[in-house]
Symmetry: C2
Subunit: 630 residues, 2 copies
């Protein structure tokens, strides 16, 4: 057998055209070692072992071994519970049909849209998927004898997607019949909402792998998954203001998020640097503030992105960061007779007025500012219709305000000298007035999100912010006492602690020498092990309060990234975040490593430019890329 | 004027289809501040300042400012000498013609091939370049009244590309005539070799920028460049064995290299992990050693890559690393009755037998090994026909040999016990015998390259390696005394010191916790300032020996990268390396920063996924992203 293979290889070199070199099988098979023995002192669970095998007819492909060897196969994030048969059924993408959708018109419409995406997943699993679709000789689609019939049942006809939307689902694969040598499988996905059902289909897609021994796909002959997320808020912040990212790139990010069951695309759409949000009410903002007339998000772009995300189970949560992190764009105020809407804009030397160039903060004592904000917030509401609104609120530089003519005059008129308390009071007034404008724009009182800041410091937060109105996003280190302070006081929180979930860290500095401020790079292991509940417990937190932890987000600040490299900086680290927030496993990265490395290959097959974590050898020789325990 | 623009913006939001929103001009112009004043205490040279401007008709685009403001415009790496007019000529890509090529048939053929690449550059400069090519109404190419006629003169008809090939060129742009409102320019590129002329055309392409005020391209009305490289060897190592990279990705890398005038693609094609090189003589090697039958480089692939590189002025330098860094693939020996060709293959626990999993070293006492090596080297010669051959030679683990049955038996038969000296002697014999096989395969004595290793340690190197035969590639830290040791003893060296030019550093560890061994990440500033000559001088080096420094290479080891992310890990840091090796400026990164940030945008325009170094704001507000001097 071996010699035949060698002969084929040699022949292929010589002739090329006739022999399909890709179908030559390497002399390997993959054997599952389910003894759960430890490797180098680490428990790694069941693992696939690459083993020499002279006989093609008994070879097991890596995909087949990965599906069956571990408890969770290739499903990422790990479901709450999953059982599966050891037997697999081979099939072609064309054998899969959606035979029944129950749940009302709106749900049916959404499921049908996602069914198309699902079909594409199947073709992308195969290295020759274009070839797969149609028989080049007959011009007809290939069909095997297998059949996989999918039924989707959703009980709630409401397809709105908000914080707390039920995302649970159950998934069952059963053998319905056997016809000839092939199988007929019945797949049932049941969920309360469309969004749960979508997650179920996502899981189903990850129970399918490519079999390079037969050039077909494989799925479990039977399986059952019962699943729901550990946290309702699982997201990523993407900053499109320091550097612009195209609509195509944003869609790629959202696609990738949906593979990992992440559900919040937190869009930090504007900042001091640029204003790409094309406000319909105030088009002067992008005109003055966008990097170029091409680097904008039109209302049409945004509507398209919001729709694209919703089908994939992702909410788009807009942030308009203020009163710092504004600048370019707001120059229009003086032209329009509104006075200075922002102060310190591009002011030098920047170190005295802001945390990074360029500077800029709202002129919060200018009464003309608030109606303008109202118009802008209304644009945000009209386009995003989000159930929450992120108001930013980080990194205010009090010196900027205290040295600007407008604020100084105001303070003097009030008989004040500009103490820290004076300035905090002004800031607090801004927050109140701006918040009222948001409520007007929404016609309701959506939860407002703010970053941790001077206003949320220990012992201060309840002076400034009402816990019923505000959710706090934590970006300090995970061991900052603000964590327990906020939760103990009853504030809802979202974790984005910079020591683990800031994905922009570790690159070279962009203002000066050395590496950037939050270096080193946060590896996937650190991302994975960053547990919000554990951080709170480590500060003596009370487990009864843990429901106040809504979840978390990784942050992709974009001072040093744009569309050219963002995908690989996000993935596969976002996958690590996703398992922390969906599953919140009690185990650590070592137990997840084999699955992580396999999942990364799945992401790449789907076109996500996820970075490589290890040599491919480690994926083919599971558990062997380890460090011995000391 | 401003209000008209606002009206257009608003209209565009409303109607979309009819109005081309992209032609709306933002209210900015760019003014050159050539006072060379310092910013934040740093001298940054002439710089473009984004300035408000109500009048479109007088606005200067960022591209126009960048071309004219500094001494070297957007040319990267910085030429030896360059002068240029302050006046620019606007034109369309179609206006450029190659009117004369002098230099014999082989040269003409090469220039014609590169002329096509050059034309593509022009189209890629424009954001709407597809649209540009043909008038959608008439179906004919757009033509303006401008004409740019390029003449290329090469004096040497020989088109072979080897170490030391003359790469110098001169480039002159002159105004030949004025026809109507437009200009007729004559461009003359003169060089000794095709490769010098290609560099000249590369420089020419970087003297052209996009003018977003007129939607055309711009070039200097007159200019002169005289240029040649500081070092003959300017390269990058790409490892395709830890992770495979596709032929398409390798071509992308080579294209990017040619933009930066890098001339050596050092192909670390095999390693212990996998053997993707499809040897025609020993097809068992890829069959056992490739990650999959799809992850191989066929002879056709390699021929295609070598040709692709040569047109772009890049030599492909193959490395077959031995006697360590071999393993998977070599299992075939025992099947063929040749005995074990490698020992310690995939041996555990790996820590005892190699530096990273999986292990493997040649069984250097097996006489059957050498004829096999001879066949393999012949395959390398046939495909690459390189003027040098890299034999690797790094990271030998003496314990592997000393504990393997085969080597122990041999040592005992020689009455030896396996001291370090015994093992070094065996290694040295391997190197001699393997070297002889290379000479046989080449039919000549090409220079052999080896990595620094135990054989090149202080006081040892001349015991083992002859300086006439061997070039040493330095991968230790730049302050390792081996630097002056080698150069003082007359060895030719190539710098790849890991503390600056290892581009894989700073990511998470792949065997265990924390970040990888050579962390932190090497920012472009560190890459830029890593001067081989300075490192030698810092060790008291003698300037008369500096010609022994052939140049340097960045290393992209691929344990944690593959095609998904390699482009952005290479660029723009490779550009920093390129300027160090082409120009070897006495100034540091601060003086290069403005040009670097602009060059990165040019790379992205050409489709190179170079990472972002700074917010785009810094590119539009030159010199303002700085840290004050203490």
């Amino acid at each position: 057998m071996k010699w035949l293979v060698v002969a084929l290889l040699t022949l292929a070199v010589g002739t090329l055209a006739k022999v399909n070199v890709y179908t030559v099988t390497a002399p390997w098979t993959y054997v599952c070692d389910s003894s759960n023995s430890s490797v180098g002192g680490h428990y790694v669970g069941a693992r696939c072992v690459k083993t020499e095998n002279g006989d093609d007819s008994t070879a097991v492909s890596l995909g087949a071994c990965k599906l069956t060897c571990g408890e969770f196969g290739l499903v990422w994030p790990q479901p709450e519970s999953m059982v599966h048969a050891q037997q697999l059924v081979n099939f072609l993408p064309q054998d899969v049909r959606f035979v029944s959708i129950t749940g009302g018109d709106a749900v049916t419409n959404m499921v049908n849209k996602f069914a198309e995406i699902f079909q594409e997943y199947l073709f992308k699993k195969s290295p020759q998927y274009e070839y797969y679709k149609v028989d080049p000789f007959s011009g007809k689609p290939f069909i095997s004898d297998s059949r996989i019939d999918i039924s989707v049942t959703v009980t709630d006809e409401d397809v709105s997607l908000v914080h707390g939307t039920d995302e649970s689902y159950t998934l069952e694969i059963e053998r319905a019949a056997k016809s000839g040598s092939q199988d007929h499988l019945s797949v049932k996905v049941t969920a309360k909402t469309y969004y749960g059902a979508r997650h179920g289909l996502e899981t189903l897609s990850q129970m399918i792998a490519y079999d390079d021994n037969t050039d077909t796909l494989m799925i479990y002959k039977s399986a059952k998954v019962v699943d729901k997320p550990a946290f309702p808020h699982r997201g990523v912040l993407v900053d499109t203001a320091r550097n612009y990212m195209s609509v195509a790139v944003i869609k790629e990010i959202i696609s990738g998020m949906s593979y990992d069951k992440l559900n919040v695309f937190h869009w930090h759409i504007t900042d001091t640097h640029s204003f790409p949000f094309w406000s319909q009410s105030i088009p002067q903002l992008p005109m003055y503030g966008a990097y170029s007339p091409r680097k904008v998000y039109t209302p049409q772009n945004i509507a398209e992105i919001v729709d694209y995300a919703r089908v994939r189970g992702v909410r788009v949560l807009p942030e308009f960061d203020a009163p710092a992190h504004v600048g370019n764009g707001w120059q229009y105020g003086e032209k329009e007779g509104l006075g200075k809407l922002a102060v310190c804009v591009n002011q030098e030397p920047w170190q005295q007025y802001c945390v990074e160039p360029p500077c800029g903060q709202f002129n919060i004592v200018n009464d003309n500012l608030y109606p303008e904000l109202g118009k802008l917030y209304k644009d945000f509401y009209d386009l995003f219709q989000s159930d929450m609104f992120h108001m930013g609120g980080d990194e205010i530089n009090l010196n900027c305000w205290n040295t600007s003519t407008e604020i100084r005059s105001y303070l003097e008129s009030q008989g004040k000298v500009g103490t820290e308390d004076d300035l905090l009071e002004l800031w607090d007034q801004f927050q109140f007035r701006a918040g009222e404008e948001v409520y007007k724009a929404w016609g309701s009182r959506p939860p407002l999100i703010l970053w941790t800041s001077r206003l949320t410091e220990k012992g201060e937060v309840d002076k400034f912010l009402n816990k019923e109105d505000y959710i706090i996003q934590i970006w300090t280190g995970g061991d900052d006492p603000v964590v327990s302070e906020l939760i103990n006081k009853g504030y809802r929180v979202i974790f984005s602690n910079s020591d683990a979930w800031y994905l922009d860290c570790g690159y070279s500095s962009w203002v000066g020498e050395g590496n950037n401020w939050c270096s080193p790079y946060k590896g996937w292991q650190i991302v994975y092990e960053n547990s919000p509940r554990a951080m709170y417990r480590n500060q003596g937190g009370n487990s009864e309060n843990e429901d106040l932890i809504l979840g978390g987000e990784a942050a992709m600040w974009s001072e040093q990234v744009d569309g050219a490299a963002v995908m690989h900086k996000l993935w596969p680290r976002l996958s690590a975040l996703a398992e922390r927030l969906w599953t919140d496993p009690s185990s650590g990265w070592k137990q997840a490593e084999i699955r992580m490395v396999g999942h990364r290959e799945d992401l790449v097959d789907r076109g996500i430019g996820a970075d490589a974590l290890q040599p491919l050898w480690c994926n083919q020789n599971e558990g062997l890329c380890y460090v011995s325990k000391a």
